[in-house]
Each structure stands twice: as C-alpha cells, then as structure tokens.
C-alpha cells in the first residue's frame, strides 16, 4: 500500500531538467508568467531571480561566472526538494531554472517561480526552495575577472 502511494507520487512528478545553457532571458520569464493566466485557481505568484553580481575582489571586478554542475545528481536533489516543498506548502505549481555556461555580470542565472491560491504559501515556498537549492545542488561557479584571471565562487 505504502509503496503504491510513493510510486504514484513519483510518476506524477518526474525529475525535470532545470538547466539552461546561457543566461535566462527576461522574455522567457515574461512568457512563463503569461502561461499561468489559464490557471485561474492561482491567487499569488512569487518569483526569485538570481543575477550575476560584479563583486570586487582584491581590487578586481568579476566580469562573468561560468557555471558547471554534476547534472544527474543535481536533478535528483532538485526532485527531492520539489517533493518536500509540495508536501509542505499548498502550491499550484513550481518552476526552477538554473544557467550553465558563462553568464556575464548583470545577467540572470536563476529563476524560481512558485504559485499558489494565496500569497503566503507562494512566498515561503519560493524562499525555502532558493535556500535549499543554494545549499544542496552540486553546482560550481568560476568567477572570471576582467584581466582573465579567475577564482572559484563559494556560497555563504
């Protein structure tokens, strides 16, 4: 019985690919919002956008971040985070996209989008998803400076 239930949930939500090559375009974000207009049970969306910051480190400015990942593991972990979040919050839907490859300072590298009947669930689920994915997904970022040297970023 228990097993049947679990496998039913697993079939319902298969691991989705979250990775996109290159930056996340604002038109893609706009289209994602537009697509939800047919889901009329939604009363609130929450969106988090991560943007590559031009940090100054030892007097040198970050020019871009090149993201790489252990993709199979990251997708399995993200699937688990998604399952947990859906159990905890009454969400209508959740979408997560993360960039891979070289992303210039000022460009968007993370897009987390949660929707619910009421705002609180959407906002809390969005925040928890962002915090968890930053801590749990095997993703690395190589920060390149304008003089072509680099260093590896580390989440605080």
């Amino acid at each position: 019985m228990q097993e049947d239930k679990t496998s039913a949930i697993m079939t319902e939500r298969k691991p989705k690919n979250i990775f996109v090559q290159g930056p996340i375009a604002s038109s893609f974000i706009a289209d994602s919002i537009q697509k939800h207009s047919s889901k009329k049970e939604i009363g609130g969306h929450s969106i988090f956008l991560g943007q590559v910051r031009a940090d100054t480190i030892n007097g040198k400015k970050v020019f871009s971040i090149e993201y790489t990942s252990y993709e199979e593991m990251a997708l399995e972990k993200m699937h688990r985070i998604r399952e947990d979040i859906f159990i905890k919050y009454p969400l209508t839907c959740m979408h997560v996209y993360h960039s891979l490859g070289k992303i210039a300072a000022g460009e968007i590298c993370l897009f987390v989008f949660t929707s619910s009947a009421h705002r609180k669930a959407a906002i809390d689920a969005c925040e928890e998803t962002v915090e968890r994915l930053k801590a749990e997904l095997p993703i690395w970022g190589k920060e390149s400076f304008e003089d072509e040297t680099y260093q590896w970023k580390e989440n605080k």
């Binding site: 991560g50 993201y67 790489t68 990942s69 252990y70 199979e72 593991m73 990251a74 399995e76 993360h98 590298c109 993370l110 962002v130 994915l133 930053k134 801590a135 749990e136 997904l137 095997p138 993703i139 690395w140 970022g141 190589k142 590896w152 970023k153 580390e154 989440n155």
Partner: protein, 77 residues
C-alpha cells in the same frame, strides 16, 4: 576492482582531470588517503564525496559499479 571518479570545480584544477580511474580502493577512507598522498594540494580545500549521487558522511565500502564524485563547496544560485 576499478572505480571511476568524477571531479568537479576547483578540484579538477588541482587534480588536472575531470575524471580519474583507480584500482583496488576498497572504501572511501582509503580513497581519501590515496588522494591526499597523490595530490597534496587537496589539503587546502574542503570537499565532499558522493557515492552513487549521495553525499556520504561515514566510511563507505565501494563496489565495482560505484559512481564516485568529488564535490568542492557549492556555488549555485
């Protein structure tokens, strides 16, 4: 017994490869000791070991088909 190890991020810079194959490593403690000896630069960097895509927290016995990965600190988001 051959084990294949995927190497990511800064660790790939230190080791100089994205992937290494090793023989006769029975468990993850033995792997850590081998890596430490072979690549002294690793002592400066904390890293996690994943066996079959799960981060391990205690010594883990390796099988012939184990998929290993060395994971430096994450920087996603």
């Amino acid at each position: 017994m051959q084990i294949n190890i995927l190497i990511f991020g800064q660790l790939a810079d230190i080791i100089g490869e994205n992937k290494i194959d090793l023989w006769d490593i029975p468990d993850t403690e033995a792997l850590k000791m081998y890596l430490q000896k072979r690549y002294p630069g690793l002592s400066d960097l904390p890293y996690l070991i994943a066996v079959d895509k799960e981060v391990i927290s205690a010594n883990t016995v390796l099988n012939n088909n184990s998929e290993l990965a060395l994971l430096p600190p994450y920087a996603g988001g």
